[in-house]
């Protein structure tokens, strides 16, 4: 989200300060520690790969400002893993690091210490944090920090970063370490290997000696190819020499040494003071259910269903309150005050109707959006995400996607931008491009506001289901897109599934509240800012138009906005947009910048079209009465929520007539205008269009950064045509009985164009396969 922009500024602000880098395996608590040290609130989660880029913050140590760098998790400095791990590796080898804080998981010490061995080999000063000692204790393991510290020659601090335990000790160690750099003792390689490394490093070109040493190690371990035939010859000679001297390959010698060392250190540091108890059994039991061959996928769908239906229905309890109370204060209250001061009517309409009305619409949707964020945060913390990925792996693989592509998809429900960034956890380039390209189809929270506005009008009592259907449609389109591209333009096999399953954790209230608040704040500010601006623009743009005498001020129906949007209406006619409903098109155009402003735009236009009678309500508003009325909606809606709990599918509501649904809830001018401009069917088709068409500007930027211009443009064109095709299909199928001839023609037309697209993609794939083969192979080799 917006965090990345803030980060860039911070990086500049902290230039020249001593740099502490946090390093460790994925999901060992680096970001938690980062937040603890710097007091920031970067997103944390309980799955490997939450952090995919470098972030920096600052803290004060011993009266001096210090820069702290949070890195993505990395298993080894010698290679492996996705792009995210490469980011960490490069920084640790080449970056201007003054002190490494290596974080290891106490409950899995041996494996985490193999990275420590590699970090020691960089020769950089280091402090070791043994984190999650509480989880080790639950496994019956105690940590002996003094013994470990003596064996490593490093300061060792035991912590439970999640609860802030051990922070004081860590601060002391960091202060001390910056004064006098602690260099531990790396595991010795033995004479043979050291000699081989000496010969190889002398031949390698890199100017950084640390990088040269690791490149040499990679060559000896066989995890990298020699650059040229000369090097290959030398390497073969060296390997033969080592084998002669030790009867083992250098790879075996190096690794046996490193893993043996880690094992020894772990044995030094841990003592068993009990047996694995309850916790292990609970994990086994939960895994048995959520990973089950038959129940795994239904459980995942049920979890998603609950999240969105409960967010919507639960949010409904407070929706009317937020809506009516903010309308009373921001529209009527502000309008009244302005009227009292004697400002001109147009200005009052602009401020109260445009800005106030825009804000009012966003504020109404805070409860459901906020609840979605709370549930996503719960999901993040619980440890379930990685398991859902494994449960879905077989299905995803059949569609050509790696199972861990599911993780960014779930993040995408919050915002598509971090989801696209999060696709970096996927190792093979092909799977990563596929995963990035399907992200725009995941319904983000901004699109939720549009669904909500329409659902409130047309699908009030079964809105949760309609919204859920749109989410599911997004998932289906995303998966089918991956399948289609995987069969045509991006052919290949997904890499087999490999993912660490984090321990289950009861989500901490503090972290869930903080995280959802953080997201909600970003959401509200972004939306508020954009809508306020758009509200103003839309109150001016609809005021001028092209007339016979040139550009003149006109009424809204003859304005530039109306003229432009009206010209586009015929394109959208097949999906049920009527000639008079040009504001719907204005909304779509604005939505290409940010989805949050679609409703704001509709608000601006509809308010303007119906502006006449508003002044009367400003003159004598009953704000106290309105607030009281707003408050009274909470218990009423709560009772509705509880009584409809036994009918989660909203079946009873489907029997009631559309007119009663329309009558309810449509309070604001905008919602009333929506009610008259759309039918339930054309509203649904419009929502499907909104779901699938071009992503917002920030998402386009992220697409360009991660997969390049070509795929970004493809994504735009593909998304828009798919959106148009799908909504046309929906509308024409729904109204088939009325005009079978034209509907049939549209349906056949859409299907035929789709067939053409498939053929085109196939041809591209065949051409790309012959052209790109060498370069893909190179990539695979370097990875």
């Amino acid at each position: 989200m917006s965090a990345c922009h803030e980060e860039n500024q911070k990086t500049q602000a902290t230039a020249g300060l001593p740099i502490i880098a946090l390093a460790g395996n994925p999901n060992c608590g680096k970001t938690t520690l980062f937040n603890l040290l710097t007091g920031t609130h970067q997103q944390v989660g309980n799955w490997p790969g939450v952090t995919v880029e470098r972030r920096s913050g600052s803290m004060s140590l011993d009266g001096r400002k210090v820069s702290v760098v949070d890195l993505p998790g990395v298993y080894s400095l010698l290679g492996g893993g996705g792009e995210d791990q490469a980011v960490a590796r490069d920084y640790l080898l080449d970056g201007p690091v003054d002190l490494i804080v290596n974080i290891v998981d106490a409950s899995n010490l041996e494996r985490h210490l193999t990275l420590t061995a590699e970090l020691l080999e960089t020769g950089r000063p280091m402090v070791l944090v043994v984190n999650m000692v509480d989880e080790a204790e639950a496994q019956g393991l105690g940590v002996l920090t003094t013994e470990l510290s003596a064996a490593l020659g490093l300061p060792v601090v035991s912590m439970v970063a999640r609860r802030g335990k051990g922070r004081g000790n860590l601060l002391d160690s960091l202060t001390q370490a910056l004064r006098q750099a602690p260099h531990g003792t790396p595991p010795p390689h033995g004479l043979l290997i050291e000699r081989a490394l000496g010969v190889l490093t002398a031949l390698l070109p890199d100017s950084n000696p640390v990088r040269r040493r690791f490149d040499a190690l990679r060559l000896l371990e066989g995890s990298a190819e020699p650059a040229d035939s000369g090097m290959e010859h030398t390497l073969r000679q060296i390997i033969a020499e080592v084998e002669d001297g030790s009867a083992e390959t250098p790879a075996d010698l190096i690794m046996d040494q490193r893993f043996g060392w880690a094992q020894e250190m772990a044995a030094t540091a841990l003592h068993r003071n009990g047996y694995t108890g309850m916790r292990q059994r609970i994990t086994d039991l939960l895994d048995h259910v959520v990973l089950n061959d038959w129940f795994g996928i239904p459980v995942f769908l049920l979890v998603l269903y609950l999240i969105f239906v409960v967010s919507f229905s639960g949010g409904n309890i407070f929706l009317d309150f937020f809506d009516q109370a903010s309308a009373a204060l921001l529209i009527h209250g502000v309008g009244h005050v302005l009227l009292e001061t004697g400002l001109p009517t147009w200005l009052i309409a602009l401020v109260a109707g445009g800005v106030g009305g825009g804000l009012n619409l966003v504020i109404s949707f805070i409860p459901p959006v906020g609840l979605t964020f709370v549930f996503l945060a719960l999901l993040d913390d619980s440890g379930y995400m990685a398991r859902a990925a494994y449960a879905m792996d077989r299905l995803m693989r059949r569609l050509g996607l790696p199972g861990n592509a599911l993780v960014p998809m779930v993040i995408g429900f919050g915002c598509n931008v971090p989801a696209i960034m999060g696709s970096r956890i996927i190792e093979d380039p092909r799977g990563r491009i596929l995963t990035v390209l399907i992200q725009p189809f995941m319904s983000c929270s901004a699109r939720l506001t549009i669904y909500m506005a329409f659902a409130v009008v047309f699908f009030r009592s079964n809105g949760g289901q309609v919204v859920f259907a749109l989410y599911v449609l997004g998932i289906i389109v995303a998966l089918l897109t991956a399948w289609l591209l995987g069969k045509t333009a991006l052919r290949g096999e997904a890499l087999p599934f490999v993912m660490e399953l984090p321990p289950y954790r009861l989500p901490g209230i503090r972290s869930v509240v903080l995280q959802s608040w953080q997201r909600l704040k970003v959401f509200t500010f972004r939306v508020g800012r954009v809508i306020a601006v758009i509200g103003v623009v839309l109150f001016i743009l609809p005021g001028i138009g092209w007339t016979d005498h040139g550009l003149r001020s006109t009424d809204i129906d003859h304005s530039l906005l109306a003229q432009g949007s009206r010209a586009l209406v015929p394109i959208f006619a097949p999906m049920g947009i009527q000639q008079g409903n040009w504001p719907a098109i204005s909304g779509l155009i604005a939505g290409a910048a940010a989805k949050e402003i679609v409703i704001g735009t509709l608000n601006g236009v509809y308010q303007r079209q119906n502006a006449a009678d508003l002044m009367a309500t400003y003159r004598d508003p009953d704000i106290a009465g309105q607030l009281w009325g707003a408050l009274k909606t909470i218990p009423t809606n709560a009772i509705t929520f509880i009584t409809t709990l036994d009918d989660p599918l909203g079946l009873s509501a489907m029997e009631s007539t559309a007119s009663t649904q329309q009558a309810s809830g449509a309070e604001s001018v905008t919602l009333q205008a929506i009610a008259t401009s759309f039918t339930a069917l054309s509203a649904f088709a419009y929502l499907v269009f909104v779901l699938l068409y071009v992503p917002c500007a920030s998402t386009m930027g992220a697409l360009r950064r991660e997969v390049g211009w070509g795929w970004m443009i493809f994504s735009l064109l593909y998304g828009s045509s798919l959106a148009w095709g799908a909504s046309t299909l929906i509308y024409q199928t729904g109204t088939f009985a009325k005009h079978p001839g034209s509907s049939g023609a549209w349906i056949i037309g859409v299907l035929a164009s789709f067939a053409l697209l498939v053929i085109g993609l196939r041809l591209y794939g065949q051409r790309a396969a012959t052209l790109a083969k060498p370069s893909l192979n190179q990539k695979a080799a370097s990875a």
Partner: protein
């Protein structure tokens, strides 16, 4: 010596010691970074099935696809291995 036994041939709850990781360099490296190499003790905590298996390796649970577990050659261990 026994014929080759792979993780996919084990049963739920079985413990085993890794004898070898076959497959290309990339595969070996992926396994190594997760702590699976010659001599590692493992226990099957879910599966093995068509999807793959979940293995307990040290303090970690690793979910591995079918394509991966069939490249991990193991030696069956009777009874539980302490510590995993």
């Amino acid at each position: 010596m026994n014929p080759s036994l792979f993780v996919g041939d084990l049963k739920l709850g079985d413990s085993a010691r890794v004898r070898d990781v076959t497959g290309g360099r990339g595969m070996q490296q992926r396994m190594r970074m997760l702590g699976i190499r010659r001599g590692t003790d493992i226990r099957v905590v879910h599966g093995p099935g068509k999807r793959g298996a979940v293995l307990q390796v040290g303090g970690a649970r690793l979910a591995l696809g079918w394509g991966v577990i069939q490249r991990i050659e193991v030696e069956f261990c009777r009874g539980p291995i302490p510590g995993i």
